[in-house]
């Protein structure tokens, strides 16, 4: 089995980053799933970031979230560097699933699901419970209570979104991949025909 490199910036990774960012941006703008809690939405865009992270690695997921979050910030008037940086951190951490989840080979069973979710939970907790609120306090002098509430809401909805949508997407994707060693030389038949 070839060694998976986390930090190569090949053309394929570059294109995946660009299209991933466009996809993230579109879903971020158009698709949000209302939860039973009022005024709280699950954003499938973050699940897409985690999905691309598991497929292409941390460079793709970190850069695509950065590009998309900066773009949507510029468009809707929310250029908030604290949340932009937190988004990049979340994307970067999601990408480490690439190393441990062999979804490209059609192997995505219970172990893969557990690892993927452990990594996405770690990423979301660090980004939205720690990085975003702390930077908000440092850079923007926002009130402590407000930023931790915002962070907790964003973190929890993203964890749920990644867990449900991300896992389902990876299952669907791995089902389309052929497994390693699924083809073998049909020696018995060859002997009979000879």
């Amino acid at each position: 089995m070839e060694q998976k490199k986390l930090f190569t910036f090949s053309t394929r990774i570059l294109v995946a980053t660009a299209l991933g960012a466009a996809l993230f941006f579109i879903l971020n703008t158009f698709v949000r799933i209302p939860t039973p809690v009022p005024a709280t939405y699950i954003m499938p865009s973050w699940a897409i970031a985690a999905f691309f992270g598991a497929l292409f690695g941390p460079i793709t997921s970190a850069l695509m979230t950065l590009i998309a979050v900066i773009l949507s910030g510029a468009i809707d008037g929310g250029m908030w560097w604290s949340w932009i940086i937190a988004g990049g951190v979340a994307g970067f951490i999601y990408g480490f699933a690439f190393k441990f989840v062999n979804v490209n080979r059609g192997e995505f069973k219970l172990k893969g699901i557990l690892i993927f979710n452990a990594i996405q939970i770690a990423g979301n907790v660090i980004a939205w419970f720690v990085v975003a609120p702390v930077l908000d306090i440092l850079i923007y002098a926002e009130p402590v209570e407000l930023v931790f509430l915002q962070g907790a809401v964003a973190g929890l909805t993203n964890i749920i979104g990644c867990a449900v949508i991300g896992t389902l997407l990876l299952l669907a994707y791995s089902a389309t991949r052929s497994k390693e060693g699924s083809l073998k030389k049909d020696t018995d038949n060859a002997d009979k025909q000879a």
């Binding site: 294109v15 299209l19 991933g20 996809l23 698709v31 850069l63 590009i67 008037g77 926002e142 009130p143």
Partner: protein
């Protein structure tokens, strides 16, 4: 639902003639000014400046109407929650207390809180037009050239311009998929329960992702065949030379940034302007 977010402004204005590098540097300097300073005078000055630029850019109200309404709603919610969760934040920052009137329980309106919240609100207002002007008045491929110009590796810069290039294509895919799933009777409104909402969202996301993954393979093969990324450097068709105008614009914004830092460090001795002391 069809919104064209990247309708570029084609008007031949001062801002469109500026080189991308200069625009990017000015944009970053101004957003950093607003980010770092909590002095309402500095913020008010930046607001005036960004509205003047907004006027120069000839971006029309129609182009930004929807966004402006969403932003306004967000600002009101943010102000409400700030006051509900931290009514004494202003008092904590400025270290003094001038009550205006008592509302109820622990909620008292103070001059400090009013100043803190209006500074914060104006910070949002100041920065909002800047990003819009920048993206609506900069050609995507020139943006890549200018990102490379200020030192970003060209592969990263190229990724940004590819994003903008493929955004309309993916948006069209999204619309087609969404329409055809709705034609099959997919319930998108709030009538559906939570679990079926997730399922319905997946019915749109899954085909969109799989077609995007296919596109990634096609595009990256095409680029590899044309030997993309073989050399350490590349030139840009749409790069512009820096003109005297550009240098002037950078100098002016750098001066604004420097003055705001000077006010922070030597006049206010903090990021806040304290008229109560």
């Amino acid at each position: 639902m069809k919104i064209n977010l990247f309708t570029q402004s084609r008007e031949d204005t001062f801002l469109r003639r500026m080189s991308g590098v200069a625009k990017l540097v000015c944009f970053l300097l101004l957003t950093f000014t607003v980010m770092l300073s909590y002095d309402i005078r500095v913020i008010a000055f930046t607001i005036i400046l960004s509205f003047v630029m907004f006027h120069i850019s000839k971006v029309t109200w129609r182009q930004i109407r929807v966004i402006a309404c969403i932003l306004l709603l967000f600002l009101l919610l943010n102000a409400l929650f700030t006051f509900l969760l931290a009514p004494e934040q202003g008092v904590k920052i400025y270290g003094s207390r001038h009550e205006i009137f008592h509302i109820a329980g622990r909620y008292t309106l103070t001059q400090e809180q009013l100043l803190y919240m209006s500074s914060k609100l104006l910070k949002y207002v100041a920065v909002a037009p800047l990003g819009l002007i920048f993206f609506l008045c900069t050609d995507p491929s020139e943006l890549a050239a200018s990102l490379n110009g200020i030192g970003m590796p060209y592969k990263g810069a190229y990724a940004v311009s590819l994003t903008l290039r493929y955004f309309p294509d993916l948006q069209r895919d999204y619309n087609n998929i969404s329409m055809s799933q709705q034609a099959r009777g997919l319930e998108m409104s709030k009538k559906a329960g939570f679990a079926s909402r997730v399922k319905n969202a997946l019915a749109i996301i899954v085909p969109l992702i799989f077609s995007t993954l296919e596109r990634i393979e096609v595009i990256s093969n095409a680029m590899d065949l044309r030997a993309f990324g073989k050399h350490k450097k590349r030139t840009w068709y749409s790069a512009r030379k820096i003109s005297r105008q550009d240098i002037l614009a950078i100098a002016v914004t750098a001066l604004i940034f420097a003055v705001s830092l000077y006010i922070t460090f030597f006049i206010n001795h903090s990021r806040f302007y304290d008229p109560f002391a």
